[in-house]
């Protein structure tokens, strides 16, 4: 089975983790137009490539970010979320 490295708990079987989709910047719900909000809610960065995603280690409840190559099924890097750098992860 595939191994994923939790930034807190170290290498674990991937069955211990839950995938929660790509890291996206949320537009301000109070000011976003319907079109911008629909784009945020529904549209995805679909093509194959390197994705920045939310994952959760479910037994310990640790949320973190994984950089993953979806063409080769390889996990490149896992790290905890830090707010100042968040803008850098936008697709």
């Amino acid at each position: 089975m595939k191994i994923m490295t939790c930034p807190i708990n170290g290498p674990r079987l991937i069955s211990e983790f839950a995938y929660a989709g790509e890291v996206k910047e949320m537009p301000d719900p109070a000011t976003a137009s319907d079109a911008v909000w629909a784009d945020y809610v529904f549209n995805k960065n679909g093509p194959a490539g390197i994705k920045h995603e939310w994952w959760c280690h479910t037994p310990s409840g640790v949320w973190f970010i994984a950089d993953r190559d979806t063409t080769r099924d390889i996990i490149l890097r896992t790290y905890l979320y830090s707010r100042p750098a968040a803008g850098a992860y936008a697709p």
Binding site: S15, G46, P47, D73
Partner: protein, 417 residues
């Protein structure tokens, strides 16, 4: 027979007619270009030529005919859906399926088996009754049956599922059927080919050219690894590669790609007539005419653009199979594989016109596309020929997400994805 075989060995040229002619080179211009020579793309080409008289068409395929999800599904055909849009659409498809072998003059081994969707809880049974009522309202043969009826139809099954999840009843759909999936692609391909459509295999699309017409972008050509084609109409029927093609014309979509795996056992004596689906145990299974069990389960749990197989999948599916059919413990698995399923948030496809004039989509077929092959071909060829969405697909357009008007079709996925 050996003498006939010898003929193949000795002849300089292939002694039998080929299924398809191999076109020499791409022309400069086509009336329409269809990207993807799977069932959906070839069916659209077939009906464009047969019903709309448009034969100056190229079908472009990166790999080979029917090598994508057309050849990777578990071949189940049914129309027991949940929304009126879905039920009517798939019912038309089942009707088309039934005449297809004659239409093609090719045996698809279309075999009506009956289809049981098992319910293991009272809550699931309520959904089955709901689906049965929606189906009956549209004249489709579906009914809720109790556990005894299930046991009578499948005497070899452990109805308690090893005590974990006793079957309380099922949704029975009599028209449920299986067919040989390769033959569907070949039948449509040969039919289109005979009517003048060109099928170019091993031809990869590198870019789709658009121009600004003043009233928005419009398709003007397709760049392939064998040269540039100019055309005003492009149909995109490429399943897992759809997001990549959409990015070529500057469109976004809610499509996301997860692998869907399946596997097949060694051939054994016939014992399973109907098709069995269990949403709770994540299993669907049928037995082919050759005796193999064709089995599938739910999607892989994370996004991936790959058709790799995993041992986790074979293990968990086998475990659930044994809960239902413990006597299979000695049966060997001979093959497993995966396809790239293009999923949508509401489990309905994305079809029809797009904001790019002349660019038509047949996508979002996720884990439920094989059964819709004929009706997709019919409706997409109509949409292409008339440049207006066919009435059966108006609930499936890409702009439904912009309008927050989703078509919630949970009945689409045979097991809960």
């Amino acid at each position: 027979m050996p003498l006939r075989l010898l003929r193949f060995g000795l002849a300089r040229q292939h002694p039998e007619p080929r299924m398809f002619t191999v076109p020499s080179a791409l022309k400069k211009t086509y009336d329409a270009v269809i990207i993807g020579a799977g069932g959906h793309g070839l069916a659209a080409a077939y009906y464009l030529a047969r019903d709309h008289g448009i034969t100056n068409v190229a079908v472009i395929e990166k790999g080979y005919i029917g090598g994508g999800n057309t050849g990777r599904n578990t071949t189940i055909i049914r129309s027991n859906y949940l929304t009126p849009e879905g039920v009517q659409f798939y019912d038309e498809s089942v009707r088309l399926w039934q005449d297809l072998s004659q239409d093609f003059d090719l045996n698809l081994f279309y075999s009506t088996r009956g289809h049981y969707t098992l319910a293991h809880t009272d809550a699931a049974m309520r959904t089955m009754r709901w689906r049965a009522e929606v189906n009956k309202h549209f004249g489709i043969a579906s009914e809720a049956v109790d556990a005894k009826a299930v046991q009578a139809a499948i005497p070899m099954m452990d109805i308690t599922c090893a005590g974990h999840a006793p079957v309380v009843g099922a949704l029975y759909h009599a028209p449920g059927a299986i067919a040989r999936h390769d033959a569907v692609a070949w039948g449509y391909g040969r039919g289109a080919d005979r009517r003048g459509v060109e099928i170019h295999q091993k031809t990869e699309v590198l870019d789709i050219k658009t121009e600004d017409t003043g009233s928005g972008p419009a398709v003007c050509g397709v760049l392939t690894n064998k040269g540039l084609i100019s055309t005003r109409k492009v149909l995109c029927a490429v399943a897992g590669s759809t997001p990549r093609l959409l990015s070529m014309v500057g469109l976004n979509s809610p499509l996301y790609i997860h692998p869907l795996q399946a596997m097949v056992s060694e051939p054994i004596k016939p014992w399973l007539d109907p098709i069995i689906v269990s949403g709770s145990l994540h299993v669907y299974v049928s037995q082919t005419a050759r005796g193999e069990l064709v089995m599938g389960a739910s999607l892989d749990p994370y996004e991936l653009h790959s058709t790799r197989s995993t041992l986790d999948f074979a293990e968990s599916l086998s475990m659930h199979m044994l809960e239902m059919f413990p006597f299979l413990s000695d049966v060997k698995i001979v093959r497993q594989w995966a396809g790239m399923a293009d999923m949508t948030p509401d489990f309905a496809p994305i079809m029809g016109k797009t904001p790019v004039s002349g660019f038509y989509l047949d996508s979002g077929w996720g884990t439920w596309g094989f059964k819709a092959t004929p009706v997709c071909g019919k409706t997409m060829s109509h949409t292409l020929a008339t440049d207006s969405n066919h009435p059966l697909i108006t609930g499936f357009n890409l702009d439904r997400f912009r309008r927050y008007a989703l078509t919630g079709e949970k009945g689409a996925a045979s097991v809960g994805h």
